[in-house]
């Protein structure tokens, strides 16, 4: 099964540098289907939340203008080996996914 997300979290001193890649079409609603010529309905991630050991560190809201297969890099201070970083999202259809990484 292909993962809908990838995460890489690296400690640099006491800062966790977190990079995530989400496999999502991020349809704007403006694109036309190549075969039918019909507009492809909007389908995009609206909210994304990141936690550090269960505490919220980042809350994002996105429009359909975030690129397809969204990439996000953020940083969290006060991190140490063994800490857990979790990132989850919900799209405009209510689909959701999340992923967790342990710092080392």
């Amino acid at each position: 099964m292909a993962d809908p997300m990838k995460i890489r979290a690296q400690l640099q001193g006491d800062v966790a540098d977190v990079k995530i890649l989400i496999f999502h079409p991020m349809e704007t609603g403006l694109r036309k289907d190549g075969v039918t010529g019909q507009p492809v309905p909007m389908h995009f991630i609206q909210t994304l939340t990141a936690t550090h050991n269960g505490r919220t560190v980042l809350e994002a809201q996105w429009s359909q203008a975030v690129s397809k297969n969204p990439f996000l890099n953020f940083r969290v201070r006060g991190a140490k080996p063994g800490d857990k970083i979790m990132v989850g999202w919900v799209d405009n259809r209510g689909d959701k996914a999340s992923i967790e990484a342990t710092l080392n």
Binding site: M1, A2, D3, P4, M5, V15, F23, H24, P25, M26, T28, L30, R31, K32, H43, Q46, T47, T49, A50, T51, H52, G54, R55, T56, V57, L58, E59, A60, Q61, W62, S63, Q64, A65, V66, S67, K68, P70, F71, L72, N73, F74, R75, V76, R77, G78, A79, M86, G88, W89, V90, R93, D95, K96, A97, S98, I99, E100
Partner: protein, 147 residues
């Protein structure tokens, strides 16, 4: 990957992992994101005035050949920065992303956005209830909103 498969995988993952993560419920600012004019988007965010600041460091390409993938990196050096906002003035809906920081997150974010045409990219930050702004013109060779 087919969209239907992607969706099934995403739902399966979310169900299987049973994460304790609390996701925002209704935390999407529809009024601001639906706004077609920058002024309306700013009103939706609650901005009444902005102060131009060179302490918002924006890395953006001068020329983006592919408007579907425009990389942006934003770091705010304004103490107490709580949020970063990305707006693209000439996109059909200018407000593109909002990032709120808490509990040790640095006021830093890097991501990739779509631009329909050459436009001013407008970055706002919020610190202590005040809004700060920096702007940059980005030229787009091939528009990315139909992508």
């Amino acid at each position: 990957m087919r969209r239907s498969v992607l969706r099934a995988v995403a739902v399966a993952m979310a169900t299987a992992m049973l994460q304790p993560l609390q996701l925002l419920a209704g935390g999407w600012n529809k009024a601001a994101f639906d706004a077609r004019a920058v002024a309306d988007a700013l009103k939706g965010i609650g901005v009444t005035a902005t102060e131009d600041s060179d302490r918002i460091v924006l890395k953006a390409p001068e020329i983006a050949e592919n408007g579907a993938i425009v990389p942006l990196e934003i770091a705010s050096q304004i103490p107490g920065t709580e949020a970063i906002y990305i707006l693209v003035d000439k996109n059909p809906q200018p407000l593109t992303a909002v990032f709120e920081f808490a509990n040790g997150a640095e006021a830093f974010v890097a991501t990739r956005i779509k631009m329909n045409e050459s436009s001013r990219v407008r970055i706002l930050t919020r610190a202590g209830g005040k809004f700060y702004a920096t702007m940059r013109e980005v030229k787009v060779t091939i528009g990315g909103c139909g992508a």
